[in-house]
């Protein structure tokens, strides 16, 4: 159980993990796309994106498109590394606890 508790707390949160998992496979994604795919509210998503940004896991670029604000997010090298470590830790936890579904 201790391994499980050692999972990166920044990623071991449903919405933040969803955001990172989404961004790990793409070059960049707009805020509205992430909101749509995760089913989160704009307010909650903003808060979680800020936390990931403060940890340098993601990069957030703000601009304008057709006079509307546009927020684009992309994962950083540090974010990719943290995600890989999280997946590795998760896998080793599952390997150690095969019956614990």
């Amino acid at each position: 159980m201790s391994d499980f508790k050692n999972l990166n707390p920044l990623l071991h949160s449903q919405l933040r993990l969803a955001v990172i998992s989404l961004l790990v496979g793409v070059e960049n994604a707009e805020f509205t796309y992430i909101k749509e795919k995760t089913g989160a509210t704009a307010g909650n998503l903003s808060v979680q994106i800020n936390k990931l940004k403060e940890a340098d896991y993601i990069k957030v670029e703000k601009s304008f498109k057709d006079n509307y604000p546009l927020t684009k997010c992309s994962i950083t090298q540090k974010g990719v590394k943290a995600f890989e470590e999280y997946v590795r830790a998760l896998r080793s936890y599952i390997d150690q606890n095969p019956k614990n579904d």
Partner: protein, 188 residues
């Protein structure tokens, strides 16, 4: 989504769901294969037909390619504005076709000013094959992989035949590499 307490199985679930969500869809690319497929098919067959008439400028039919260029430009600008996500596959595909187009333009310039048209067609077919084959590999879409491979066989044959036959081979290439896979994309 609730925060903090969730199990490792749920973690896997989220990761898998999000990766599946961001999976590449290739339906958007159907348009380009069909547009260029039809244009090149019509132009090559019309060119072949006009060679058998007394008309002095049978190659004029290739002006149809301007329609393709304008259509491609318009559609890609529109798609770029609409897309909320840019995947690595998107980036690769765009750059692959830029590379293929550069090859085509260089081959056409060389044909017009140096080597002659007869020397150009096998290389054009070869370039079509490269674009189609790699698109098929990256999308994991077999009809494009097969179409690309067929193009390479045709390219080799094209080195040994006369110009009118090359036109027919080109028509067959776009049928196998663009049109048939293009119509199959929607169903996959």
């Amino acid at each position: 989504m609730a925060q903090q307490t969730f199990t490792e199985a749920e973690s896997w679930g989220i990761i898998q769901e999000m990766i599946a969500n961001a999976k590449q869809e290739m339906r958007n690319d159907r348009f380009y294969f069909l547009l260029w497929g039809w244009l090149v098919l019509v132009a090559s067959l019309a060119h072949f037909a006009l060679l058998h008439t007394t008309y002095e400028h049978p190659y004029i039919v290739w002006l149809l390619m301007i329609v393709g260029a304008v259509g491609t430009l318009y559609r890609s600008i529109k798609a770029h504005k609409k897309h909320k996500v840019r995947t690595y596959v998107d980036k690769f595909i765009v750059n692959l076709w830029i590379a293929v187009s550069a090859g085509i333009v260089i081959t056409l310039l060389a044909a017009g000013f140096a080597t002659g048209w007869h020397a150009a067609y096998p290389y054009l077919i070869l370039l079509y094959g490269i674009g189609t084959f790699l698109s098929g590999v990256i999308f994991k879409f077999k009809p494009l992989v097969i179409g690309g491979s067929i193009s390479w066989c045709i390219a080799l044959i094209a080195f040994f035949v006369s110009f009118p036959v090359q036109l027919l081979l080109l028509a067959f290439t776009v049928l196998a590499a663009y049109l048939i896979p293009g119509y199959l994309i929607k169903k996959s």
